[in-house]
C-alpha cells in the first residue's frame, strides 16, 4: 500500500535530511580546518567559511571553533540544529522513537554548549558527530520499513551535492549522487529524468537539484 504522508511531513523529513547532512559535513570540514589552524594555515577557517559566504575572524584555533559553530552568522550550526529539531517534531510520527530521541539529544548538546561560558573543543565535535552517526543509523533501520525515509535520503543527497559544489569538490562525485537522487525521484513520482548533468555548470546543477522536492510534494489535490 502506498505510504501516507502529509506534504508538511514530507517536506519536514526532506529538510531534516538536508540539515542533518549539513551539520555533519560542516563539522567534518571544521574539524579539518581546526587542525590546520593550529600549526599549518592560520587562515584555513577563513577560507572554509568563504564558501558559506561568511567572513570569519578569530584569534586562534579554539576561538575558530566557537565562532564557526555558534557565532552570529548564517552558517551558525546551533540554529541549524534547532531547525533539525523543529522538523523532527513535525515529522515525529514517521521517525521512530530512537531517531527522535537522538535528535533531541543533539539539540540539547548544542543548547548546553551555547549556554555555557566555556569554549567548544574537539570533544564536542566528536560527540556531535557520533550522535549524528547514531541518528543516521537509527534512521536507516527504519528505512527498511518506511518509504517516507526516501524524503530524508533525498534531502541528505541534495545537501551532499550542494555542499560538494559549494566547496568546489570533484564534480564526478556529485554526478554519482545526482544519479541516486534521480532514482529516488523516479521512485516517488514515477517520472524518469535522464538529464546529462556533465554538460551543465555547477550553479545550474544546484538550482536543478534544489527544485527536485517541488516535483514530488504538492499541497493541491491532483484528482477527484
Amino acid at each position: 500500500m502506498e505510504e501516507l504522508l502529509t506534504a508538511n511531513s514530507a517536506t519536514s523529513l526532506y529538510w531534516l535530511g538536508r540539515y542533518l547532512e549539513r551539520v555533519e559535513a560542516t563539522l567534518m570540514e571544521v574539524s579539518i580546518a581546526y587542525d590546520n589552524i593550529i600549526d599549518v594555515d592560520k587562515n584555513a577557517g577563513v577560507a572554509l567559511y568563504k564558501n558559506f559566504d561568511v567572513d570569519l575572524s578569530y584569534s586562534n584555533a579554539l576561538d575558530f571553533l566557537n565562532i564557526a559553530l555558534l557565532g552570529e552568522h548564517n552558517a551558525n550550526l546551533k540554529n541549524i540544529v534547532v531547525q533539525i529539531r523543529e522538523n523532527a517534531i513535525i515529522s515525529r510520527t514517521q521517525l521512530g522513537e530512537d531517531s527522535f530521541g537522538e535528535i533531541i539529544e543533539l539539540h540539547t548538546l548544542f543548547k548546553n554548549v551555547s549556554l555555557a561560558t566555556s569554549y567548544i573543543d574537539y570533544k564536542f565535535i566528536d560527540n556531535a558527530l557520533s550522535l549524528i552517526s547514531e541518528i543516521w543509523g537509527s534512521l536507516s533501520k527504519r528505512q527498511q520499513r518506511k518509504q517516507s525515509n526516501s524524503f530524508i535520503i533525498l534531502g541528505k543527497l541534495v545537501e551532499e551535492v550542494d555542499f560538494h559544489l559549494r566547496l568546489d569538490k570533484e564534480k564526478v562525485l556529485s554526478l554519482v549522487i545526482l544519479e541516486e537522487i534521480d532514482i529516488i525521484v523516479e521512485k516517488l513520482t514515477n517520472i524518469t529524468e535522464s538529464k546529462d548533468y556533465k554538460e551543465i555548470d555547477k550553479h545550474e546543477i544546484v538550482s536543478l537539484v534544489n527544485a527536485k522536492i517541488d516535483m514530488i510534494v504538492t499541497d493541491e489535490i491532483s484528482s477527484i
Binding site: E2, L4, L5, T6, A7, N8, S9, A10, E86, I89, I90, R92, T93, G96, E97, F100, G101, E102, I104, E105, T108, L188, T189, I216, V217, T218, D219, E220, I221, S222, S223, I224
Partner: protein, 453 residues
Amino acid sequence: MLDKSSDVQSKFWEIFSKQDRKKVEEFKTYMDKFAINFNLYQDGNFIEQSLPFDIIPRIISKSEFSKMEKGLVQRITALNLFLEDLYTDAKIVKAGIVPEEFVYEAKGYLKEFAGFSPSKKIRTHINGIDLVKDTKNDEWVILEDNLRVPSGASYPLSIRDTYRKIYPDFFEQLKIEPIKQYPSYIADSMNYVNCGGINVVLTPGRFNSAYYEHSYLAEKIGAQLVRASELCVIDKKVYFKNYNGKKIRVGSVYRRLDDDFLDPTFFNPESLIGVPGIIDAYLSGNVAIMNAPGNGVADDKGIYYFVPKMIQYYLNEEPILQNAPTYLPYFKEDMDYIFNNIEKLVIKDVAEAGGYGVSFGHSMSKTQLEDMKTIIAAHPRRFIAQELIEFYDEKCYLHNELKERKADFRAYVVVGEDVKVWQCGLTRYALEAGNYLVNSSQGGGFKDTWVME
C-alpha cells in the same frame, strides 16, 4: 498514601532503598529525549517547557484498582447512554431526572446535534476521569468527568518507559501491570467506529499546548497526525491530502481541538484550525469523530451532580464510585446549605476548567465570601459547591528529599467494542505543600502510577 506498612508499598521501598540515587539525573536526561513538553503563551511569548515529574510512583493495589475499574466502567457506560439519550429521545429529561434547564442551558449542549446518533452509538470514546482518595473513608471519589478532549496520557507512557530502562529491578521483582496497551485501546476504538477509511489524529498544530502529546500518541496509535489544512471535505466525505496530491478517505478522526474550533462553517467561523465541512460529513454518517461533538454537556460541572442518578436510571444499579458531596444553588435547600457553610466549601464556576474558577471558602475573607454569595444568588446555575475533600498526600522525591504533596489521579477509560480502563493513569501532584490544585496549568507535576499485586 505511600504507607510503608502496606504490603505492595513496602515491596517498593525495599527495592528503592537499594537503588543508586545518582541515577535520578540519568532518569531526567532520558525523559528529556521524549520531549513530552507543554507549550504555553506567557506575556505574548511562546514558551516550551517540560512538565515537572517525580520518580516515586503512586502505587495502587490490584484489588483496589479493580473496584475503581468497575466503578469507572459503570460511570462511563451511563454517561454514554445519557448523551445518546439526550441527543435523541431525551427520556431522562422527560422523566424529570435531570432538569431541562441544566441540559439546555449548558454551554456544552449543542442543539444542532439533536436527533443524530453517531457510529455505533458511541460518544464517549476517550475519557479522563479525575479522582482523589478521601482520607475520611479511604474511598476513591470522583471529582470531574472529562468527556471532550482529555489530555495527559503520554506523560505516564513516557515516564514508565524511562522507569523500565533506568530501574528495571522494580519490574523484574514486582508484579506491576503493564501499560503499553493504551495506544492500542485507542486504535481499537477508532477502528470500531470507523466509517470507512484511515484513522487520523487532528491537531491544532505545532504551537498548541499539547502538541507533543498529539504527535507522540499519533505515532503510538499508528494514525496520521494532521492539521486541518491537510484534510478536505468533498461530497460530505473527509479526505486526507497525501503529499503527492492523491486523496485518501478518512473514516475516523481523533480530534484534539474543542467543538468551537472543529468546523468554521458550523461553529466559530473565525476558526483557522478547523476543517470546513467536517460536521456535515459527520452528520451524514461518513466519518466518526471522537469524542463526539456536544459531549461538553455531560462533563459540565452542574450535570456532574446528576451522574449517580443517571447510573440508577440507565443501569438500574447503585453507583460504585461516589461523587464528592456536591450542592447546586439551583435547589433552594442546597442554596441555603451553601450560604450557611460557605467558609468550608469549595466553589466552582461551571464554565471554567483546568483549575481556574475554583475558590476555597476557607481561604477567603469575610468580604470575599459575602461577594461570592451575592454572585451565586444572581447566577445559581453558574456555580456548584463541594465539600472540601481531604485527600491523601503522595510522597515525592523533591530536591533530594522525600516530601508530602497533594495528588489526584486521572483514570483513562476507552470505549470501543468494550469499555476498557487503562491499568495506569496520570497522577498529578501540587508543587507546593498544602496546595490542593494539581493541574499542569497551575504548575503541578506528574508521576507514574503502578497497579500492583
